[in-house]
């Protein structure tokens, strides 16, 4: 039997944080995605313990201001791309600068400095990522996906996909399907 899973990262991470914070007995307040306020001074070892417990989940405590901002930018972009309700018609630069309260130029610079790649590239990356998810879910056609992600045409999506991953969306789908076949065969 096969089921499809949609990940709500926000929720998942929040739950993990809470669990771990409870475990480590750190009084806290969760402010938003990626922000936790400690309500008391936490000793370094407790912090390390906490940090370590989050490691296996791939959650890291970000220390750098810049890193924090980068993370915020990334999260905002992820939000923008993955969120269906988000106003897609708004230009990403406008959206980001409004959301994060900095000029787009500033954000762009910081991003490139730290990640060695541009915001645009990252947006594309996320879009392609979402596309991959939708393709795997198998519920929308490529045309519908293109429309959903605000591409001007399927061809546009296809070519961006190919440019990013080096393979066509249909090839990607084929590969995923074949992978599935193998896993089911192996199970049987």
């Amino acid at each position: 039997m096969r089921i499809f899973i949609k990940f709500d990262f926000n929720n998942t991470c929040k739950k993990i944080l809470e669990e771990k914070l409870e475990e480590c007995q750190i009084k806290h307040r969760i402010l938003g995605f990626g922000e936790v306020e400690f309500l008391e001074k936490v000793p370094t070892e407790k912090l390390n313990l906490f940090s370590k417990s989050l490691e296996r989940y791939g959650i890291e405590i970000v220390e750098n201001q810049k890193t924090i901002l980068i993370q915020k930018i990334k999260d905002a972009i992820t939000d923008m791309v993955f969120n269906e309700d988000a106003s897609i018609n708004v230009k990403s630069s406008v959206y980001l600068s409004e959301k994060l309260n900095h000029s787009y130029g500033y954000l762009s610079n910081i991003f490139s400095e730290v990640t060695y790649t541009s915001i645009e590239n990252f947006i594309i990356l996320q879009k392609i990522e979402y596309t991959k998810q939708l393709i795997i879910n198998n519920q929308l056609s490529l045309t519908e996906i293109a429309f959903k992600l605000n591409y001007s045409s399927v061809a546009h999506l296809s070519s961006q996909f190919k440019n990013t991953t080096g393979i066509t969306p249909s090839a990607f789908q084929r590969i995923i399907n074949k992978r599935r076949e193998i896993t089911t065969k192996n199970k049987n």
């Binding site: 990262f9 791939g58 990334k74 992820t78 990640t115 060695y116 790649t117 990252f122 990356l125 996320q126 990522e129 991959k132 998810q133 795997i136 991953t165 080096g166 393979i167 090839a171 990607f172 084929r174 590969i175 995923i176 074949k178 992978r179 193998i182």
Partner: protein
């Protein structure tokens, strides 16, 4: 970019290719630790060695004696221990069928060995970057497919 070095392993029976590979990384100035093995058997031994720190990225040549790339790929993918390793096929062949077959078997990246040193450097840099982005941005590693 990264706190720690990126661990990279190359499995290739060709001496020249190994040379190109290591030279490229040397010139790239990314914080990488590169080691090479000569064939599939060596690779598996290396990976299975409890002392070995598993690489972040494994570059795998397909045409190797004793145990060729495909077999290695299958072995590695069937082992849960190695599931975090990003596998990049590093091959001379560029047939679409081979590419797709390796992806189906679980490879993440397929690189056709370039005939130009600069290209090699660029490709390797690109891969490192993208890999790091996957790592830091919570992107789905399972669907990480890249063909160069």
């Amino acid at each position: 970019m990264q706190h720690d070095s990126i661990l990279i392993t190359l499995a290739d029976d060709d001496e020249d290719d190994r040379l190109f590979f290591t030279d490229a990384f040397d010139e790239l100035k990314i914080n990488t630790i590169v080691n090479t093995v000569n064939n599939g058997k060596e690779l598996l031994n290396y990976l299975n060695d409890p002392d070995t720190i598993l690489p972040n990225i494994l570059f795998l040549d397909l045409n190797m004696p004793i145990l060729n790339g495909i077999e290695c790929l299958k072995e590695i993918k069937s082992n849960d221990k190695f599931k975090d390793i990003v596998i990049a096929i590093y091959s001379t062949s560029s047939s679409d069928q081979d590419v797709e077959d390796t992806f189906v078997l679980g490879a993440n990246i397929y690189i056709k060995k370039p005939s130009n040193f600069d290209s090699l450097k660029k490709i390797l840099a690109n891969i490192i970057t993208i890999n790091w982005q996957y790592h830091t941005s919570g992107l789905n590693k399972d669907t990480f497919l890249l063909r160069v």
